[in-house]
C-alpha cells in the first residue's frame, strides 16, 4: 500500500504540485495523463526525491517520509523501495548492459556478485537482449536502451515502479517493443505508476487513469470512465486534442 498526502512542490512562486493526495494499492497499475507542464513528471520525481518536495508525506509499506523532516537516510530508504524508468533511459554510460542491471544489486542491495549476475542474465533473456549483455549503452538503439532501463528497474524488486514518459524520447519504430515489455511487467501485477502520452496503452493496461492539470489531480477512475465518459471539461478537451 502506497499513500501520498499533501505532496507539494514549488519553483519560486510557481506551484508545480499542489497538495497531491493519492493512494495506490499493491499490484495496482496507475497511468497519469495530462497536458505538458502540469506536474506529472514532477510528481514522479518527488516520489523518490529526485526533486525534493516542499511538503507532504509519502508512505510505502511501513516507511514514512515527511518532507518536513526527511533526512538523507530516509531518502535512501525511499529510493530503495522504488524503481525509476527515465524518459531518456539514463543508463550508466560507463557500464555494459549487464553491469547496468547488476550495479545496484551489488552496491546497494549487497547481493553476492554471482547471484547478481545470474539475476541480470535472467532479466536480459526476459527482455530479449541476452546477446547484448556485454554491449555499452552507446552501441544500443533507443529501444534496446530503454528495455535495459526497464530491466534495471525490474531487477530491484521495488514496491513501486515509476515510469516517466518511457517512450516519449523514442523513434516511433522502437515504441512498440518498449510498450510490449511494460505490458509484460504489468501482467505480473507489479505496482506501477506510469506517466504516458500513449492513451491506447494506458487504456489497455491501467487499472486506474489519473488526469492531471495545473499541479492537481482533476479526475481519476477506471480507463473506460476517463476515456469514454470524462466528467471534467478539461479532461474532455485534453482527450479530444490528443486523439
Amino acid at each position: 500500500m502506497i499513500s501520498i498526502h499533501g505532496l507539494t512542490k514549488r519553483y519560486g512562486t510557481n506551484t508545480v504540485l499542489d497538495a497531491i493526495d493519492l493512494d495506490i494499492a499493491a499490484g495496482e497499475r496507475v497511468a497519469i495523463i495530462g497536458p505538458s507542464g502540469t506536474g506529472k513528471s514532477t510528481l514522479l520525481r518527488c516520489l523518490n526525491y529526485l526533486d525534493r518536495p516542499d511538503s507532504g508525506v509519502i508512505r510505502i509499506g511501513n516507511l514514512t517520509v515527511d518532507a518536513a523532516t526527511a533526512r538523507p537516510a530516509d531518502i535512501l530508504a525511499l529510493r530503495r523501495r522504488t524503481a525509476f524508468v527515465f524518459q531518456n533511459y539514463s543508463l550508466f554510460a560507463n557500464k555494459t548492459a549487464r553491469e547496468n542491471i547488476t550495479e545496484a544489486l551489488i552496491t546497494v542491495q549487497r547481493k553476492p556478485r554471482a547471484e547478481a549476475e545470474a539475476r541480470a542474465d535472467a532479466i536480459l533473456r526476459e527482455i530479449g537482449l541476452a546477446d547484448k549483455a556485454g554491449a555499452y549503452p552507446a552501441a544500443l538503439s533507443g529501444g534496446q536502451q530503454q528495455r535495459i532501463g526497464i530491466g534495471r528497474a525490474m531487477a530491484l524488486d521495488a514496491s513501486l515502479m515509476l515510469f516517466d514518459e518511457p517512450t516519449s524520447a523514442l523513434d516511433p519504430e522502437w515504441v512498440g517493443e518498449v510498450l510490449d515489455l511494460m505490458r509484460r511487467v504489468a501482467e505480473r501485477r507489479q505496482t506501477m505508476l506510469i506517466v504516458t502520452h500513449e492513451m491506447q496503452f494506458a487504456r489497455e493496461i491501467a487499472d486506474r487513469v489519473i488526469f492531471m492539470d495545473g499541479g492537481r489531480i482533476v479526475e481519476q477512475g477506471p480507463p473506460t470512465q476517463i476515456f469514454d465518459s470524462p466528467q471534467d471539461k478539461r479532461t474532455e478537451s485534453f482527450l479530444r486534442r490528443v486523439r
Binding site: 529526485l50 525509476f84 550508466f92 554510460a93 557500464k95 550495479e103 545496484a104
Partner: protein, 224 residues
C-alpha cells in the same frame, strides 16, 4: 661556427640515460600524489564543504598563482627555517612534494570541470537506484570524469616530467643536474644541453604514444 662534437654527444647519452629513472620516478611519485590530492579537492569543490571549501580555493589560488621555482625554493630553503622538523629534508623529497602540491592545484580544476561535464542524468540514475552520494561519485561519475579529464591530465604529466628539471636547483642530480655537471667539465654546453633536450623530447614522445592507447581504452564504452 664550429662543428658539433658528435662523439662527445654519443658518449653523453648513456651517462644522462642513467638519470632517467630518477627523473621518471620523481614525476611518477608526484603524479600519483597530485592525482589523489586533486581528486579529493575536485570532489570537495563540487560538493562544497563549508570552511574546507574556502581553504581549498585558497590552496588552488596560491599554487596556481606563484611560479613553481618560487614554491620549490620556499619549500626547500625557506620552510625549514620556520619549521625545524623539515630541516633534514632532502632535495628529491622536497621536489616531489613541491611538484605534487603545484600540479594538484591545476589538476583539481580539470577534474572538477570533468565531473561537472558528466551528464546530470547519470547522477539521477545513480540516485534513483538507491546509491549513496559516495557510491554515485566513485562508481558512476568519477570513471566518466576520468575519461573526460584524461587528455588534460596526461598533458600535466608531460609538463611534470619536464618540471622535474627544476629539482636541479635544489641540488638534485637528475637528468638536468647531471648534464650541467658534464657540461661544466667539458665546456661543450651546446652539445650537452642538446643531448638532454632530445632525451626529454624522446620521453615525452613515448608518453604521447601511451596517451593515445590510454584514450582508446577509456573510450571503449563510447564506441558504436
Amino acid at each position: 661556427m664550429r662543428a658539433l662534437d658528435l662523439d662527445y654527444m654519443l658518449g653523453l647519452v648513456p651517462v644522462i640515460l642513467g638519470y632517467v629513472p630518477l627523473t621518471i620516478g620523481m614525476a611518477l611519485a608526484a603524479m600519483v600524489g597530485a592525482l589523489m590530492l586533486a581528486s579529493l579537492m575536485a570532489v570537495e569543490r563540487v560538493v562544497r564543504v563549508p570552511v574546507l571549501d574556502q581553504f581549498v580555493q585558497l590552496f588552488i589560488s596560491f599554487f596556481r598563482g606563484t611560479p613553481l621555482l618560487v614554491q620549490l625554493f620556499l619549500f626547500y630553503y625557506g620552510l625549514p627555517q620556520v619549521l625545524p622538523v623539515l630541516a633534514g629534508i632532502d632535495g628529491v623529497t622536497a621536489a616531489i612534494i613541491g611538484l605534487t602540491l603545484h600540479f594538484s592545484a591545476y589538476m583539481a580544476e580539470s577534474i572538477r570541470a570533468a565531473i561537472l561535464g558528466v551528464d546530470r542524468s547519470q547522477w539521477e540514475a545513480a540516485q534513483a537506484v538507491g546509491m549513496t552520494q559516495t557510491q554515485s561519485m566513485r562508481r558512476i561519475i568519477l570513471p566518466q570524469a576520468a575519461r573526460i579529464a584524461a587528455p588534460t591530465l596526461v598533458n600535466y604529466f608531460i609538463d611534470m616530467i619536464k618540471s622535474t628539471s627544476l629539482a636541479f636547483t635544489l641540488g638534485v642530480t637528475e637528468m638536468m643536474g647531471a648534464t650541467q655537471k658534464e657540461a661544466a667539465g667539458s665546456f661543450l654546453y651546446f652539445e650537452a644541453f642538446l643531448v638532454v633536450a632530445v632525451l626529454y623530447w624522446a620521453i615525452v614522445e613515448m608518453l604521447s604514444f601511451l596517451q593515445k592507447r590510454l584514450e582508446l581504452r577509456l573510450n571503449k564504452a563510447l564506441v558504436r
